[in-house]
Structure formats: C-alpha cells, structure tokens
C-alpha cells in the first residue's frame, strides 16, 4: 500500500475540521445519535442517510472511533477464538505415535508367533491325551519307576506319540537330554537306546544345570536328587527344576527366557533363541533355575504337581519385556482358542494316578485310579472322570462332554449318531415312530416324535427307554428342554409336559 503523503494527510485533517454536513435527524449538534450509528453499523440505513452519515464520519474522528469500537467482537466472541484457536494435539497422527504403534504391533505379532506357532505344532491331540495313560499304563515297569516319561505331563503328552516307547524315540529323548546339557553344542549323534534306560526324572532335572556334563548318560546318572549342582556360572546356590509347562505349551517361553542355567551367558542371542525354539518345537523338556529349595523335597515324591513353574520369570531389557508381552498375549489367546479339550488338571491327575495316586487328595481321584489303571477308555466313561470334569468348571466340563459325547440328529424321522460329525449311524431308538427332535446332554439323550412319543437314553444311546408322558398326551413332540432333572416337553397339540424327577412322572402344565 503506497503511503499517503503528509500533504494529503494534512489536507484530510483540515477537511475533517471543516466538515459542515450534518446527518438528518441531528438538529442539536454535529454528532449523530446512537440509533443512527447503530443503523449504520448494521447496514440498515437508507442510502441517502447513509451517505450523509459517512460525510460526517469522514470528518469526525470521534464518531469514527465509536463506530469502530462498536464493531469490536463481544467478550464471549473474544473468548471463543481462544478456545478454537488452541491447536489440537493430534497425537494420534504424529510420526512418534505411529512409530511406537508399529513397534508395539511388531512386538505383539512376534510374541504371538513365537507362542502360538510352536504350541499349535506340538499341541497334543485330544485322543493322544486320552491314550497317553493307557500307553503308559500298558508298561507296568514304567508306571512304577519314577521315569520322567510317565511322571511329567510333558512326557505324558509325549507318550501320546505311538512310537514313544520305541527305541528310536528313546534315542530321541536321549538327544533332547544332551541338548539340554549342552545348550550350545550339537546334539550327539551316537546316542544309543540302551543309554536311556537308566534315566531318572531327578537326573533330568539336574542335567540342565550342569554345563560340564558329558554326552554320555553316565554323567547324568551321577547326579542325584537334590544334590547341589555345580554351576558353570559360579552360582552354586541355584537349583534347577523341571518346568512342567515346558512339556506342553510354555516350552517356547522358557526357551526364550534366556535364564537357562546351561546357557553360558544370560543374554539372549540368536543362537540360543533358535535352539530353544527347536527344543520347544520338539516337545523337549527344558529346565530353568530360580525355584525355591523346598521344592526339591517335594520333587522327590515323583509327583508332577509339585513341580511348579517359577513365579517370576527373568526377562531383562526391552527385548525381554517384548517377549513377555508376546507371551502373555499368546497365553491369553491360547486359553481362549487353543485350550485342550480336557483341562490340564484332569490330564495330570490321570497320568499321575498310575504312579502316585496318593498325591491327589480327592476321593474321586482315588476312586478313579484303579479304573484308569485298567483301561483308559473305561476311565473316560467313568463317573469319576465325568464328575471331575464337572468340578473343573462348566466351561471345561462342557468342552470335554462335547469332545467325548457323540453328536445326535434327527433326519427323516430317524435318529442318527456320529462320533466324528462326518459319519452318521442310524439308531433305532423308537422303532416305528417318526422322530422329530433330539436333545443330548452328557450321557442323557432325549428324543421325541409323533404321537407324543418320548424316548430317553442314559448311556449315550446304548439302551433306550420309552417315556410315558401321561394320559391325554397327543401331538408331535416339538421341543424337549432338560435342565438338571427337570424335563419339559412341548407338543404340536399345544401341550406342555413337565417332569421334575428326570422323567419318572409327568405333569401337564396347561
């Protein structure tokens, strides 16, 4: 904007002094009233009055000052821009937040992968878990001796392998043992099946802490239960124990913890991580330190339940935190999605009952022990097993029932049963009656059909009994609802029959 010369400014000021034009309606002096100024500022004056008022304003600095002050924003209008003008911290879109989020996502992803992937590969199937005690129970020698293959759940899970008792598998066990003893060394290739025969559970617990152990099993045999371990890392007070969870699901975690006594330095490196992963992938038992001393005496009982994992795992640095984060997330995920059909405690009791039934103080377990000893399949159907499953919780119990109980369906008026949900076998529950509905809860199977027919089986359909609803029952059974011992049957005739004693007597509701 070009500057106005002082000459022009002077002339403008002189013109202001000589202003003689007065706006209309102003008769007393040269200044317009408040109404005129208001109407001018609101642009509501007629054109002629507006021009005359502007002549006055051009000459009168006082009125100009009032007019310009009138256009100042209000107090609240002043405060409002302050609030609006404050720049919002859009931290969500900052590069720093994006970097942190990316790192966190990578850490979580790695943690999930390292936790879930090995577990998926090594997760023993449900059938394998069920067969594991049977396999171990078939070998009377193994059930008596405190062989880690039968005393630890991990070994029990490993026994699910059909070749677990073969010489080749024993050699594999020997390899795993040696790998633990020499975390950074290659596995011995000349391990013989005979060298594993004398392997004790306590030896397994101690070998990991002995960095100076040799490839032969003689060195393992020399280690006795509770004997102070000579640690290469000059920490004689530390005692090593078998982590039971290593055998099942947490092997990868322990392998990553970097706190293995046999590992030379406590730091995590790629070699140790890879080796630990390999051990975990093969279901290999892993050992670690930092267990209370009194746990050693308990371990001598041979009860696996006494071997508890360390309460606090050592993870150093940000890497350890990231691994812990991934482990926790993976554990939650596994609990949700990858939980075994049979709870861990049931399987543990099942396995322990072969050699240490007295450890379990429950009467049900004691009662179940002889049954388990005889036949796993019989145990699976035993009431003690089912009762334990119920005691483990509704979710766990239902999960086990679903896995054990066959599936039922009604198709074309006929009743079908399937074990694997793919092959269906017709069950003549009510010959000559066209069935319409079936309901299975636990061992009990209820089915209904035409002519108000209701049949019931208390043993997964092995035997059936026909239920008489009562006089006057008619129509086709449309719905059967069982809640404990209360059974409600609805028919197409609009009848509702209720039994409060498991089907012994029936009462028509309507």
């Amino acid at each position: 904007m070009p500057e106005l010369s002082n000459l022009l400014k002077n002339g403008l000021a002189r013109a202001s002094q000589e202003a003689g034009v007065r706006p209309p309606g102003v008769h007393t002096d040269a200044h317009p009233d408040a109404d005129m100024l208001t109407a001018f500022s609101e642009q509501s004056l007629p054109a002629d009055e507006r021009d005359q008022l502007m002549v006055h304003l051009a000459a009168c600095g006082e009125c100009r000052e009032v007019v310009y002050l009138m256009t100042e924003p209000l107090g609240e209008e002043i405060a409002a821009p302050v609030v609006v003008a404050v720049p919002r911290r859009r931290w969500l879109f900052t590069p720093q937040f994006g970097f942190v989020a990316a790192v966190a996502a990578m850490a979580i992803g790695i943690g999930i992968y390292m936790r879930v992937q090995p577990n998926i590969n090594n997760q023993p199937s449900h059938e394998a878990r069920l067969n594991a005690p049977a396999a171990s129970g078939s070998d009377e020698k193994n059930t008596v001796t405190p062989n880690p293959d039968t005393t630890t759940p991990g070994i029990a899970a490993g026994a699910a392998n059909p070749t677990s008792n073969t010489p080749s598998n024993q050699a594999s066990n020997q390899k795993r043992t040696d790998n633990l003893a020499h975390a950074n060394e290659a596995a011995p290739a000349n391990a013989t099946p005979q060298s594993n025969t004398g392997l004790k559970g306590a030896d397994l617990r101690s070998i990991a802490s002995n960095n100076s152990a040799t490839n032969s099993n003689d060195g393992l045999k020399k280690k006795s239960v509770g004997e102070p371990v000579e640690m290469a890392s000059a920490k004689p007070a530390r005692r090593d124990y078998v982590n039971l969870e290593m055998f099942s699901s947490d092997a990868a975690d322990q392998g990553q913890s970097g706190d293995l006594p046999s590992a030379p330095p406590p730091q995590v490196n790629v070699t140790n991580l890879t080796q630990a992963r390999n051990q975990a992938d093969h279901g290999q038992p892993m050992v670690f330190a930092d267990i209370p001393n009194n746990a050693i005496k308990q371990s001598q009982n041979g009860g696996m339940a006494l071997f508890q994992p360390p309460s606090a795992r050592q993870s150093t640095g940000i890497e350890g935190k990231i691994v812990d984060l991934g482990k926790n997330f993976g554990k939650r995920l596994r609990n949700k999605r990858l939980a075994p059909a049979i709870p861990q405690e049931v399987t543990t009791t099942f396995a322990m009952a072969t050699n240490a039934p007295a450890l379990d103080q429950s009467a049900e377990a004691v009662a179940a022990a002889p049954t388990q000893k005889a036949d796993a399949s019989a145990l699976r159907d035993s009431s003690a097993f089912m009762a334990r499953g119920r005691a483990a919780g509704p979710a766990a119990g239902s999960a086990r029932l679903e896995s054990v109980s066959p599936a039922w369906k009604v198709d074309g008026g006929k009743l079908y049963r399937s074990i694997n949900a793919s092959e269906w076998t017709e069950f003549p529950a009510a010959p000559g009656v066209e069935l319409s509905v079936v309901l299975a809860k636990g061992n009990d199977v209820w089915a209904g059909g035409a002519h108000a027919t209701v049949v019931h089986s208390a043993n997964h359909g092995t035997t059936w009994e026909k239920i008489a609803l009562g006089e006057g029952a008619s129509g086709t059974v449309l719905n059967i609802d069982v809640n404990g011992i209360t059974v409600i049957v609805k028919t197409s005739a609009g009848q509702t029959w209720t039994s409060h004693d498991g089907g012994q007597s029936w009462v028509a509701v309507n």
Binding site: S5, L8, A15, A58, G61, V66, I78
Partner: protein
Amino acid sequence: MSTQTVRELFEKSGGKNYGLTQEDFVCVLEQVAQKYIPAAAQQQRLQFWCELKLEELALARACAAGHDPAWDVFLTRYRERLYDIARGITKEDSSARDLADSIYGDLYGTGEKAGRRVSRLNFYMGRGSLEGWLRTVVTQEFVNRYRKQKRLVSLEEREEEGVQFSAAAPDPVVPADARLSGAVDDALGLLSAEDRLVLASYFLDNRTLTEIGKVIGVHESTISRRLEKMLKGLKKQVLAGLVTRGMSRAQAEEALEADVRYLQVDVGKKLQENRAQAFQEGKGSD
C-alpha cells in the same frame, strides 16, 4: 393513520405482552417519526414505521415505562449481553462490570424529571436493533470515560513520563506555497464521502483493512484496491491542480516530493489539535 394499520403494527410489536397499550404505542411511533422525518407524508411515515424494529421498540419503551413483564424479558435477553458488550470493548472484566452496571442504572433510570423516572431507553428509536443500540451506548459511555480519565493525569505521572525534559514543540511550519494546499483540498473535495471515510480511517485512525471493510460493508481486498486507486487519482489531481495554479510539471512534482520534509511535524500537530478539540466537546447527541 388508519386504525387497522395501527392495530397491525401494535400486534406486530407485541407491546401488549409488555404491558403497553395501543395508545402508548402510537405516541411512540409519532415521536420517532417526528425526530427523523418531521415533514414526511402519512404514506412515508407508514413505510418508515414498518422499517423500524417494532418489537424491540415496544420492549424498550415498556421498560422505560416501568412494566415488569418487559423488564423480565429485557433482563433475560440483555443483562448478560450487556456484560459481554462491555467486556468486548474494555477487554477487562472488572472494568466491563463497572461499565455495564453504570449503563444498566441509566437504562433503569436512576434520576427523576418532573416526578417521573427518566430511563435512557426512552432515547431508543428502533432504527437499529436494541442490542446494537446498547452496544453503541456502552461504546459512547466508554469513550466519554476515557476522555475524562485522560484529563486527570497527575503531575507525578507527567514527570515520570519525562514531560519536563521533552524538547519544546517547534513552531508550525507554514507551507511555502499556498497553491499546494489549495490543490490538495480541491482533490480531496472530489472524493466521495465513503472514499474520504476510507482514507481517514486508514491514514488518520490507522485502522486495518479488515476493520474498514467491516464498517463499510465490503471485503478488505476491495478496500485495498480502492485505496490504491484513490492515491493514484489524488496524485494526478494534485499535480493537475498545481499545474492549473501556474506551476510547471516539474515544479509540481518537486513540490509533492518536498512536502514530506516540512509537513511531518505539522501533520502530528494537526492531529493532536483535532483530537484535543474533539475531547473538549465530549458530548453526544443523547
């Protein structure tokens, strides 16, 4: 004025809700017309009344008459608004409260004249909105207070400002050539009232383009273009006037360039004189 028209205007104003009668309202309308269009015909008056803010006019006059329903409405609408207006002008909360309370007292009518309470709301004529009128009243009151406060400057403050050490003001410089001032006056006289207002606001009051545009009602870019155009035209007009008054082209241009040297002090003096004279007047039309 027909009875039907009066009734329609009265109903439009809602004066009945504020306790006004139709007769009172007619008196108010006649008063407003007498002030602004005393010699207008009836038809012009009717049109003039229709352009008034009738509802707010009735409210203000009902308040001035002391009707409680009107005051309830007024307080609800404008009590806090008055504080906001004062705060926007004073930029300070305590001063704004003081100013608004003072205006509120004047609006209610603290003084009496001939046994009747005199309310400042009686001066509201409905040409603009009642809120705008309140803003104008508050602004005028603020300017008046500012003038009074500026007069009461203690000697100690003047000494602290170093007045006693300041150099004596030089004598006003009289333009060497009277033709120059004559040519400038003629050039300024050719401008429209709005252009002169823009020039005075920008160069004398140092208002921003945005402020000027807000008062004039145009965009600030329009004000900028208009200023540039005006300055170029003024220079041409002054040069032409100087040539008309007997100067050569070169002399005229030299006279325009030389005015900066000797008119600088004179402009400041002129502005101060103008401002002091305005302060001494110190009164409004109300």
